[in-house]
């Protein structure tokens, strides 16, 4: 007794930075199938020229995010069953707010440039000859930093954010959340510079608290609250310095 094979109706974005369109594929449906499985099936069985990016397949590396039915998702951990409706339709596109390289591969350079700009590189506050500073795990600053450090740089929040869409200079939720972990990290040597950057044009004060970042973050992080933390901190510092 064999079960009848069901098929998914998949539209995939094909094209490059200058132009493109959706192409339809009929993909067999399997149990526990992920969106990345669907894309891989197309590349292996229907069109080997399909370009996309992935690495770990287990939600660690942050390489495989795409727009799935209009929302940014990590495709390796997104089950087809969760996002395809009863009509078994899928629409897969490269991440929003980033230039397209080809097909489903978005150019992540602007995202990482902003990450570095907002203090992505660690600035040491001591040398290897100094004693290791003691940080209490239960301190408020450590709590705040811990809340944001599990970011995998998948750019899902960046693609979800309409403030990024309207303002290309805006650092975006991931970079600003990184900045928030740094200003709460006692071991970071250049916290004032980070505060300076997030206070300038393009910084945290452009955020409209739409909450799309927090809603879509696959790791359940809360960039919106981290950015609110930065707004509060920078406002307090502004009046302290002014007085």
């Amino acid at each position: 007794m064999s079960e009848q094979q069901e098929y998914l109706d998949v539209s995939v974005w094909r094209g490059d930075a200058s132009s493109g369109d959706y192409q339809s594929f009929r993909v067999p449906e399997y149990a526990s199938q992920t969106i990345l499985d669907v894309v891989s099936w197309i590349q292996q069985n229907a069109d080997p020229t399909l370009t996309y990016r992935f690495a770990c397949r287990v939600g660690m590396c942050g390489s495989c995010a795409m727009m799935v039915n209009g929302s940014p998702r990590w495709t390796c951990r997104t089950h087809v069953k969760k996002v395809a409706g009863k009509d078994r339709k899928l629409k897969i596109a490269p991440l929003r707010n980033l230039p397209v390289i080809k097909d489903l591969a978005a150019d992540m350079a602007p995202f990482f440039d902003k990450w570095v700009k907002a203090g992505g590189r660690h600035a040491p506050s001591a040398t290897r000859n100094d004693p290791i500073p003691q940080i209490k795990p239960e301190s408020a600053g450590r709590d705040a930093a811990n809340a944001g450090i599990e970011c995998i740089n998948c750019s899902v929040c960046y693609a979800a954010c309409d403030t990024v869409t309207g303002n290309p200079d805006y650092l975006g939720p991931a970079a600003l959340q990184r900045a928030w972990t740094i200003v709460n990290d006692e071991k970071h040597g250049n916290r004032d510079a980070v505060i300076e950057i997030v206070s300038a044009a393009g910084g945290c004060h452009n955020c409209h608290s739409m909450g799309s970042c927090t809603l879509h973050c696959p790791n359940d992080l809360d960039p919106m609250s981290a950015i609110a933390g930065l707004k509060r901190l920078t406002a307090r510092n502004f009046f302290k310095r002014g007085a």
Binding site: G166, N167, S199, A201, G203, H205, N206, T234, A235
Partner: protein, 111 residues
Amino acid sequence: MLNIRLYLAQRISAMIMVPFVITHIAVMIYAIQGGLSAAEILGRTQGSVFWFLFYGMFVAAVSVHAAIGVRVIVSETTGLRGSALSLLSGASFLLFLFLGARAVMAVTVSA
């Protein structure tokens, strides 16, 4: 497009306006009973230092607040940046302030 100074100007003007807006809505609900007339409004407001200060501060705060709001919306929807954007927000601030000040003078300073 918004740095900390503009952000704080936006939020502080908002906080200042909270009691003004609540009072404004309350006065509206009270004042429209039985229809509006120029005489009724002037009878309440003309020569009153309280209403002069109330509406004067309200207009100043709303001019700041609305000009920054316009700045953000224009920039995010049309992509306008730099000095052209600053010129536009400055001009809209002055327009709000001028028209608002004229209205406050009209209703509170006795002829």
